[in-house]
Symmetry: C2
Subunit: 375 residues, 2 copies
């Protein structure tokens, strides 16, 4: 059940067990799933440009409501054409609600919302379920997320339970705030609910049921990959997925390590975002078919090989590890750009391979391959 | 008179007074003059990649011997294919001799050479006319420069006189060190001599005569734009140019402000390099047809216009001042990249326009136009 008139549709093209290969259709166009969405925190992927992102063929970019509402401000973004006009980006954009960043600042939280101080200038701001919807509407993303409560793990059961309750109450308010613009056709934006519940299987089930009962265009699974082990994460994820409608997209928030992504895809997840590939890149940690390498290592100083000999990215096509290590060592920012392009290409390609594997009914072999090179 | 068998040839296609529109032919290919050469200090233009530089159509890039001999080391560059292989750059490369940077460190200078400490790790190094030739040979540039002595201005006459004498003595040694590889065909590199003499017209003439008498493939005019007024610089420049062979290229080192470049082109200069457009870009100072603008200014926060409405660069084609200012304000390195691309495009295009004006016999009108918008 979507929020008002449908604006987003998932077409499942193939399955391999619970894993799905799909296409998401929106008023902007369509994108294939499973999909990895690079994180464009401040209206750009850090260290690269929209031109680079286009060449990478990434279909969806995530932008951070918290950062953009403070700098340059959602009104400024709206004045410059919303995120698509501002960035000159014709692909899809998903905005988070700002909750994740706000909760990391230790805000004052009431039933009404969360009050916090800006990390830019110390000014006071309040984010409520309603204002998060309004801000994301001004930012103009194709998909917006409800404001949720995301505790760090491990957390006492009563903290996780309170987060589930407040997340459900806020989800209902976000949906009510979003509904009028949908009913009168003022927006083509989709709104996703978020499932919380920590690593407690019963709470995950309850949160999934309550979120589904409200009705959304898709579902985020939040509050995972926030300190727990993968062995704790996957059962909680599976419990939530089992109760989500099969004909709507499922988005595992903030997860981007290769093993977790492939395992989550095997459980039926369609969408991912994570700062991991871009953050690692800026520090010279490179994703390759054989696992991570640290490009700062002296042994790469005169290495004529590309970052990953099996990679078809534009950086691996041209430059040696020796050259890229040099740029990194002398702190040329182009090193950050080139490593970011490579890591994103690598992860986007891995997710494309999971899709191909699902269509071919061969996801199990890919899971084994990834598990043999990555932890 | 070149150094040994000719490897570089200037074909003058048109003149407008002393100004010349030419083509420089080398074993690598050819490039049009007047030409502005972006500074690729450490084997890359700061903030952009070789891919960006190719899209800008810059035909020649300058690389800094001082930085590259220390990081990653000329042996490492040689092992990775010389600068062309290292950077994967098929255009021309000119290397400076390292002298300019070394002299800014207050080295211990003797007739033999200059001893200095690395700014990277404090280690001791010596640069001599002979070692500068050998290092540049390993770096593999198409054009190398002799080691010269470049005093800051203002300087006492005896300091400038001593610099002229030592520059001449070192030029002879550099030429002798370079000659064997030319005579037996081991290198296609060209070697340029350098004219010193401060702002003293008589010393400029003497330095030009002595450098020309030795015989080089082209001539740098060094030691200008190092603290003096433009009104002092231009007569000294003119004095040197009058004595340089008309059929060989003249390269005014380190000058890149629009007025000085256009005035120097009018006097007969063919080549320029300068960090100005790229350094300004990284701090948000933008070159436009109407003069410089400071993109950090609040008045650009919601400005939907491109950096320069008259510019055809790939940045002006897509992004607003508002978006680029935002990237700059939140310290996204892509702001540095985009501003660098614009400023380089702008300056490369200005130099192209001087060439077109020379061919049309209309350089005077362009000088007037540039002087009306720039100081």
């Amino acid at each position: 059940m979507s929020v008002g008139p449908p604006v987003l549709r998932l077409e499942v093209e193939a399955t391999d067990g619970p894993a799905r290969a799909g296409v998401v259709h929106t008023p902007r166009g369509s994108f294939l799933t499973p999909v990895f969405m690079p994180v464009g925190t401040r209206g750009t992927i850090r260290a690269i440009g929209v031109d680079d992102l286009e060449r990478l063929g990434a279909p969806v970019v995530l932008a951070n409501t918290y950062h953009l509402m403070l700098r340059p401000g959602d009104d400024t973004v709206a004045a410059l054409g919303g995120l698509h006009g501002f960035m000159d980006w014709s692909g899809h954009v998903l905005t988070d609600s700002g909750g994740y960043q706000v909760f990391s600042l230790g805000p004052k939280v009431t039933d009404e919302g969360a009050e916090f101080r800006s990390t830019y200038d110390g000014s006071r701001h309040t984010l409520t379920p309603e204002s998060a919807v309004a801000i994301q509407q001004r930012l103009g993303a194709d998909i917006q997320m409800v404001l949720d409560v995301c505790p760090s793990l491990p957390a006492p059961l009563e903290v996780v339970r309170a987060a589930v309750d407040r997340t459900a109450a806020w989800a209902a308010r976000a949906r009510a705030a979003h509904l009028p613009a949908r009913l009168d056709g003022r927006t083509g934006q989709a709104l996703f609910g978020i499932v919380q519940g920590g690593v407690d299987v019963a709470l995950r089930r309850e949160s999934a049921e309550r979120t589904v009962a409200l009705g959304f265009d898709g579902f985020g699974i939040g509050g995972l990959s926030v300190g727990e082990e993968r062995a704790e994460m996957l059962p909680a994820l599976a419990a939530a997925l089992a109760l989500l409608p099969p004909d709507q997209p499922r988005y595992l928030m903030g997860v981007g390590d290769p093993v977790s992504m492939v395992e989550a895809i095997a459980l039926g997840v369609d969408m991912f975002d994570c700062v991991l590939p871009t953050r690692l890149a800026r520090h010279g940690t490179i994703l390759t078919a054989a696992g991570r390498i640290n490009l700062r290592n002296q042994r790469f100083a005169t290495d004529p090989e590309p970052l990953d000999p099996d990679c078809a990215c534009p950086v691996c096509a041209r430059w040696s590890r020796g050259y890229l290590r040099h740029l990194l060592q002398v702190q040329e920012v182009s090193a950050q750009r080139f490593c970011t392009i490579h890591n994103l290409h690598w992860l986007l390609r891995l997710v494309e391979r999971t899709r191909t594997a699902i269509v071919a009914g061969e996801l199990a072999a890919l899971r084994t391959e990834v598990a043999s090179h990555w932890r």
